[in-house]
Symmetry: C2
Subunit: 263 residues, 2 copies
């Protein structure tokens, strides 16, 4: 939808797993072709974007590889990159140039009915080439996301995974843990809570299945980051136990400064 | 502003500490009188609402008590109730009926310029009588907040403090700790982050001084609640270490179910 709106493609062909979705897509003005058949959609492609849960992206690449006739550039939108980039590069070999992407856009809402053509505008997008990546393919993928309005961050897949553990996966786990903890308490928290708790736990509404896959692909980095976060909480508990006014304010002020600096 | 809009008062008199604020208030159509002098504002009052940081509420009650001429009902809007209810009851003795309140409304924004007359609509409001409270005074305070559109929860001050530790204070500390942790990492998190992190850390923008006072008045309950939360995180780490797909999904689904149930 966004690519059509910005005139980035001559022909947009969309594969979907379920025929109901294919039927819906065929009604949409921005979609030229839709099919449940991978070969139909990949034929003669210049750019293929794998949009699926992280585990399925690797499966898809293995199914697509033997169907390719045009040495396309292929990217994806998975939230974890090390496993995907390694396995997709392996799957495609010389039949395609695979370069991983991770647009930091979207919400807890999924499905075609929540599509927005300005979804990527002003958002960050990781592009994650490896040492084996073709420079021109990397540039094409970056240019694509940039044309959709994104700000590009180029990082190795491994560095990407360490960063998103901190800025996305651990925050998700904290929101989920807070919501899960509150659900165990005999407090009418759902009705009592103010806007603060609503904001803090909003992302806990995301799909458990999607997030389980993300977490399982980035477990090592997530555990590292949770341990660092733990140190922060432990230090803060100390300031409460010691009734250390100055240190409590210092801690809260550091958090405020960071939050106020977010664009 | 909200009380005037709903016609709940004949005369609205507002005390402010700084004369600039008194000047601003005098320009406003919903304020009948404003002064830096407590006696002027408390004279002949039927209902007094103490709106100040939690520590200052107790100080204010001690300054107001000798000035009263009308045995008013007095309430407050402090976020912690056990200390305030005990000390304010002591301060007023038979000169007033003090009943604590805690409207769960507001945001990280403070000051007159952020006033909204629909602030309390559809929000929860705690009313926290003690064993010594006058029933009619409790009913009047509840009726006041109800008339502003709030849903009333009547709890003892101690039970209130245990509840808000869970649903407000610990969430605030987690948001602040996450923001503080990220500010220490060499990641361009402020620019990179998606909407998830923005939501999760939003309340960390609140005033460090205000929150330090809240935390210091509710330290015991907060530490208890942080320990319970800790168990949730530890159990979740286990599921990652054990690569336990079913348990990871169960945890995330419990969080989602809770979050989806928030009104």
């Amino acid at each position: 939808m966004a690519a059509r709106q910005r005139n980035l493609a001559n022909r947009i062909s969309i594969w979907a797993r379920r025929s109901e979705v294919v039927d819906q897509l065929q009604e949409l003005p921005w979609c030229d072709e839709s099919s449940t058949d991978l070969e139909t959609c990949c034929k003669d492609a210049e750019l293929i974007i794998l949009c699926a849960p992280v585990k399925r992206i690797i499966e898809l690449s293995q199914r697509i590889a033997p169907l390719l006739n045009s040495t396309p550039i292929i990217t994806d939108v998975g939230s974890v990159k090390a496993d995907i980039c390694r396995d997709c590069e392996d799957a495609f070999g010389h039949q395609a140039h695979f370069i991983g992407s991770h647009p930091m856009a979207g919400s807890e809402k999924t499905g075609l009915e929540n599509a927005q053509d300005d979804l990527f505008e002003g958002k960050s997008c990781f592009v994650t080439p490896t040492d084996d990546s073709d420079t021109q393919a990397t540039n094409t993928v970056s240019a694509f996301w940039e044309a959709l309005g994104s700000n590009i961050y180029t990082e190795s897949p491994e560095r990407h995974d360490a960063i998103v553990a901190q800025i996305s996966h651990v925050p998700h786990i904290l929101a989920a843990a807070l919501a899960s903890y509150l659900s165990r308490e005999e407090t009418d928290a759902q009705n009592l809570c103010g806007n603060g708790l609503k904001d803090t736990t909003r992302i806990a509404s995301g799909s458990p299945e999607l997030w389980q896959e993300i977490i399982s692909q980035n477990g090592t980095e997530i555990l590292k980051s949770l341990d660092q976060f733990q140190k922060e909480i432990d230090a803060f508990k100390e300031t409460i136990v010691n009734e250390d006014t100055a240190k409590t304010i210092e801690f809260l002020a550091r958090g405020k400064e960071f939050r106020d600096s977010i664009q």
